[in-house]
């Protein structure tokens, strides 16, 4: 079974479309969305409706902090994020809100845990940015592998039988074997707002049978996505960072 993993789409229609098109040519059997469908970008309705359509056909989707913030304001957010969420709330209709309300914080499937931020306190949204937090996250579940997002920076952690943990910066389109003798925590980079100075959208494909994970960078029409943010009078920095990829 080949699973496509998407996270942190952030209302970026152009990036999501480019990734879904790429996945469409990649013999995908199953789609998993790891949260943060909205916020920052200018196309929340398109993104939520696209994810809803996939979920209707059997895809898995979990809740992200920006999605949760459309239901109840999150005072911990940055000014730009807060402003964008306030704007997003006005765009969404009752069916979209109802969909977001039904999303769960995590989902487990065949030894794989899908969660937006981390496994130990999924609703507290702490970032998995280093080995310590990664190991805390792996300790909190019996799943062999965790797939998450939230940091917008692709990263792969592996933990050995002796509990040693290491991190690795995955490269574009290199097949990485996730061997069964290790436990893995894969932070999938962001579809709609990459922050590793590479503006190309990021998603990943897991070949569950062959135990191979492949991160994929997809170039998309960044200029249009950035222009829409400006046209919607969202904070200008949100537009600029898409072009630079930070």
């Amino acid at each position: 079974m080949r699973i496509a993993l998407f996270t942190d789409i952030h209302s970026n229609r152009e990036a999501l479309t480019a990734c879904l098109n790429h996945a469409g040519r990649s013999r995908i059997d199953h789609h998993v969305f790891l949260g943060d469908y909205v916020g920052y970008g200018a196309d929340p309705v398109f993104v939520v409706e696209t994810v809803m359509a996939y979920v209707e056909r059997g895809a898995i989707a979990v809740l992200g902090n920006h999605d949760a913030a459309t239901l109840a304001p999150d005072p911990g957010m940055s000014d730009a994020a807060f402003t964008a969420i306030a704007w997003t709330r006005d765009q969404l209709g009752p069916t979209h809100i109802a969909f977001i309300k039904r999303l769960r914080l995590s989902s487990e499937e065949d030894g794989r845990l899908y969660v937006h931020a981390n496994a130990y306190a999924p609703g507290a949204w702490e970032y998995v940015t280093g080995r310590y937090v990664a190991s805390k996250s792996l300790m909190a579940t019996r799943a062999q592998a965790i797939f998450c997002g939230h940091t917008h920076v692709p990263m792969l952690f592996h933990m050995s039988m002796t509990g040693k943990i290491a991190s690795f910066e995955p490269l574009d389109r290199v097949d990485i074997p996730l061997t069964a003798r290790y436990r893995w925590l894969a932070v999938i980079g962001s579809v709609g707002q990459p922050r590793d100075y590479n503006p190309a959208a990021c998603y990943a494909i897991l070949d569950a049978k062959r135990e191979i994970l492949t991160y994929i960078r997809v170039p998309y029409d960044v200029d249009t996505a950035a222009r829409k943010i400006r046209d919607a009078r969202l904070p200008i920095g949100l537009s600029r960072r898409l072009i630079e990829g930070y």
Binding site: H158, M161, T179, A180, Y182
Partner: protein
């Protein structure tokens, strides 16, 4: 499945165990064959097979298992004649790897016969260097290169085995995290590897230097240190020069060996292909003070190095293939005929530009003496002129600006009835990365004789840049 429970005739996942091979420290080895009917195998490549089964002590032994995991992952990705062909591997419950059984001679057997004659050391060394280069190009550093991990095939080339401590620079490094500190084999480990740096392909060049030293002198340059703390000694203590042990080691070979054994990776050969080139062309080796050394450094120098390196830390990760890209071998095919002078000028400019961006590159300048038949022209011989030498002088003159800029440049004049083939064959032999060749443009001559540059472009094994003379 425990390694020691296996018996001859047993069948594992379609492979029958035919005979036990010599066991290693971490695994047992079996000659195996497929039990499937021959018809089903007809489309598969036919080559002898062996199975490697890890020896697991008391259940799961992390050291053995990590090495096994790494070898399976890396071997499955490597291709080419310098590694055993990977066939399949067992699963979590039943670990094994089935791979090509390489018929040949282990380099370990040769150690009994040391010291070997210099030509033989160079020939074996070049084979191993080409094998290393092939593996480096595929993003892998071996990191445990030693005689028992090299097999020389019956038909010639070297094969590297045992990738259990290796590193693939595009994959997570399972070894580094499992063993804190350095991993390797005492006599062969490179200084930076002894510090825990597992990211530099030039660590393999150091280990090959240890092998060459051993083959040329019968001695190990750093002895046989067992403890990790002793491995660090080579960060400040240089070995006796090979000629200290064996006067028959020529200066060019000492130069090559000591350059491989430099403490700083940047002072070694920039790529295994560049090392192979020197081993294949002893007369072209640029001799430095290394070649003249009669004994190792005095206590003051060593103390100074110790003071500088005693608290040394490993450097940051870099890319294996990136190191190779910075160190290409460029072949400049130069036409020295008078009418081609503006073209030769443009060619020198083009090569100069390449060198400006690739600091570790080296240039091999080639000129082909076109012989009507494969003998020297008797008229010129009668006048006492040596056309070969004359061409060499002209070639060096052409390359003067490149060489003056401090680049590594060598000169090669061939006689051939077929210049294009001579250039292509030379580039293939030295595994050149890039050929720069001039095109004369249209001329009546070319219409009849065919274009050298067009054939080089069509048949060369590497990138080709065609230079035209400016209008």
């Amino acid at each position: 499945m425990a390694a020691h429970d296996l018996t001859v005739g047993q069948v594992i996942d379609g492979f029958r165990l035919d005979a036990a091979l010599d066991p290693g420290g971490m695994a047992n080895f079996w000659r195996v064959s497929r039990v499937a009917p021959a018809a089903a195998d007809a489309d598969r490549a036919q080559f002898p097979l062996m199975m490697k089964v890890p020896l697991l002590r008391r259940g799961e032994d992390p050291i053995t298992i990590v090495g096994f995991e790494v070898e399976e992952t890396i071997l499955a990705r490597l291709t080419g004649s310098h590694v055993p062909r990977f066939v399949t591997a067992g699963d979590f419950e039943k670990p094994y790897i089935v791979m090509e059984f390489v018929a040949g001679r282990s380099l370990k057997g040769l150690l009994e016969e040391t010291p070997l004659p210099p030509e033989e050391v160079a020939a074996i060394g070049a084979k191993i260097a080409f094998a290393l280069h092939d593996v480096h190009r595929q993003h892998v550093i071996h990191l445990d290169l030693k005689p028992s991990n090299v097999i020389v095939r019956d038909d010639g080339g070297a094969v590297l085995i045992d990738f259990g401590l290796s590193r693939h620079d595009q994959l997570p490094d399972l070894v580094a995290e499992e063993f804190e500190g350095a991993v390797g084999t005492g006599p062969y480990i490179a200084p930076e590897q002894a510090l825990g740096d597992r990211s530099d392909p030039r660590s393999d060049i150091f280990s090959l230097g240890v092998i060459l030293y051993f083959l040329a002198t019968g001695e190990r340059p750093f002895g046989e240190p067992q403890r990790e703390a002793e491995w660090r000694r080579r960060l400040w203590r240089d070995p006796q020069p090979p000629r200290w042990w064996n006067k028959k080691v020529p200066p060019w070979l000492q130069e090559i060996i000591l350059r491989c054994l430099e403490i700083r990776p940047a002072d070694r050969y920039a790529s295994a292909a560049q090392l192979a080139f020197d081993l294949q062309h002893p007369a072209e080796v640029a001799l430095t003070r290394r070649a003249e050394r009669r004994k190792r450094d005095g206590i003051a120098t060593v103390a100074m190095r110790w003071f500088r390196t005693r608290n040394a830390q490993p450097r940051r990760r870099k890319s294996v293939a990136g190191q190779l890209w910075r160190a290409p071998i460029i072949t400049a095919a130069v036409d020295l005929s008078p009418e081609a002078e503006p073209l030769a000028e443009a060619l020198a400019l083009a090569v100069g530009r390449l060198l400006a961006t690739e600091p570790d590159a080296r240039v091999t300048c080639v000129n082909v003496l076109k012989a009507a038949r494969l003998t020297l022209d008797p008229l010129e011989d009668a006048e006492g002129r040596n056309p070969h030498l004359q061409r060499l002088i002209e070639l060096k003159h052409w390359a003067r600006r490149l060489a003056a800029a401090g680049n590594r440049v060598t000169y090669h004049v061939f006689e051939s009835t077929d210049p294009a083939s001579a250039i292509i064959e030379f580039a293939r032999n030295i595994q050149a990365d890039h050929i720069v060749v001039g095109a004369r443009g249209s001329s009546t001559l070319r219409r009849y004789l065919g274009s050298v540059s067009a054939r080089v472009v069509a048949e060369a094994p590497c990138t080709v840049t065609v230079v035209r003379k400016p209008h």
